[in-house]
């Protein structure tokens, strides 16, 4: 059954940041002009202590979305029911606006790499992932957002492009998408494709959230490290994405080499400014 955009997507939240431990106190004290925070689900799947204490106080003042790294939706192992139970429990407690994880696999034979591994873009993998996304959405009772990951290898037996695979998963499993603009750029550099072609192939009515991040360019290859500011080329792609997808909830994702909150707020202001300009130009056109 075809859906209309307004039926699929949650209302946009504006401009957010990933919630990181070094900023807990500053957020509570200064109440920064951030529209929402994204939390790493696994960091709060603990019985108690500091992270849960601060999250409970921060979510009194800010909308929260949950972002996971361990769902391993593409693994050929059975779905991890314990993990899903924990995720569901946390969801009931935190009441996030939505839940995301990555279109990847993170381990097999019950061993975890704790890294986001790329899938082969085959019909077999597609069907496997679609079945599992449907099962997870049934358990969680909501549409999952799937995020594109950065990758460093290309499989010989892939039968379609990454963007075709991403689009097919979302449409067949009726899920939503978290587009990481930096990851698109990193993979386009590493594999030599056109990032604009990628963005233009993604259905407008499925994109709920954007990630923006930095990376390390090691010459022949870009490593997705999330420990640097967003680069200009990624800002340009972001502007292109806003023109295509509209006012999508956008956040800066910094996982390492975490700067003072003010620096991330300045980066977030740049996102606000770029999005506003792009949307104004569309409106005027």
């Amino acid at each position: 059954m075809p859906h209309h955009a307004e039926q699929l997507l949650h209302p946009p939240l504006g401009f957010g940041l990933g919630l990181r431990i070094p900023h807990y106190e500053a957020i509570l004290e200064s109440r920064p002009a951030v529209d929402w925070f994204e939390v790493l689900s696994e960091n709060y799947m603990v019985p108690g202590g500091k992270p849960r204490h601060y999250l409970d106080r921060i979510r009194e003042n800010y909308p929260i979305v949950m972002h996971g790294v361990s769902l391993s939706i593409g693994s050929s192992d059975p779905l991890n029911r314990d993990y899903l139970k924990q995720l569901k429990t946390l969801t009931d407690q935190i009441e996030p606006r939505w839940i995301s994880d990555h279109l990847c696999w993170t381990g097999v034979d019950s061993t975890n790499l704790h890294d986001l591994m790329p899938l082969p873009y085959t019909e077999e993998a597609l069907q496997h992932v679609v079945d599992r996304v449907s099962a997870v959405q049934d358990i969680l009772g909501c549409r999952l957002l799937l995020e594109n990951v950065s990758s460093y290898v290309t499989y010989k037996h892939s039968e379609m492009s990454e963007w075709d695979f991403l689009r097919e998963v979302a449409q067949r499993a009726d899920s939503l998408l978290l587009l990481d603009i930096n990851n698109i750029y990193v993979s386009s550099f590493n594999h030599g494709f056109d990032p604009v072609e990628y963005i233009d192939a993604i259905p407008v009515n499925r994109v709920q959230q954007f990630h923006l991040a930095g990376h390390r360019n090691q010459g022949g290859c870009i490593i997705d490290t999330h420990d640097e500011p967003v680069i200009d080329r990624v800002w340009e792609l972001y502007e292109h994405a806003v023109r295509r997808f509209g006012a999508v909830s956008t956040m800066i994702e910094r996982d390492d080499n975490i700067p003072p909150l003010e620096e991330l707020l300045a980066e977030l202001d740049r996102a606000r400014h770029i999005a506003k300009q792009a949307l104004t130009q569309i409106a005027d056109a």
Binding site: G48, S76, G107, D109, T111, E124, Y152, V153, Y155, K156
Partner: protein
Amino acid sequence: MSALRDLQQDFMTAVFSAKKAALARHLVGTASERAWRIDIYRNNAVSNLSSALESAYPVIVKLVGAEFFRYAAQEYISRYPSVSGDLHVFGEAFGAFLAPFPPAAQLPYLPDVARLEWLCHKAYFAADHAPFALDRLKQVAPEHYGRLQFRLNPACALFESAFPVDRIWQVNQDHHTGDQALDLSSGAATVVVKREMYRVAVNALPRSEWCGLHALSTGHTFATACDVALQIDPDLDPGAALRRWVEEAILVDFSISA
């Protein structure tokens, strides 16, 4: 076996055992290009798991230095794969791993320091529990005192070692400003790990008190705990000790056994 499973198993082999040939046949690119691309994933996996160990074992890092720690971490990662998607539980066996680890044989206290750090790591994320008011104990009729059973705070743990692990732990904290002196021959330690305002602390307890608390924490009654403690120190005042344990929120609840 499905093609997807086949590929994923080959990937795991390439990452954890450095045998790249099986994975390389699935990849595009020249031989050298495929090799360095696989190495990115090897480095990422080892670095993510090493970072998790480093953050759980900061004192061990200080004691052995970053380079030795990285070597030990790599050995540990290859022998103890991460079986949970939850990175918080990775590294539990590091103390047991260090005990027979030949390069660490010169530092016999290392395994116990690691075991203590793991208890601290767990205490950091443990469930919160409100302390209870001493007044509640006053409502218990004196004839029931012997049958009192107590609950240890979920964010507390008891640990004993033949080495002064409490001092080793304390002088290696980033915020430690006091006396740096450390006498490794000062003998055994009986310690309690506690979480105070979301910061984990390690405090020494007199052996008598520690044994009494240990008895309580393993389900014994207050009468038994008193016997154990008084055998070690006949001058101990069990009532005063109990008050301290409740006031410091080491014990957080009680019941009267049948």
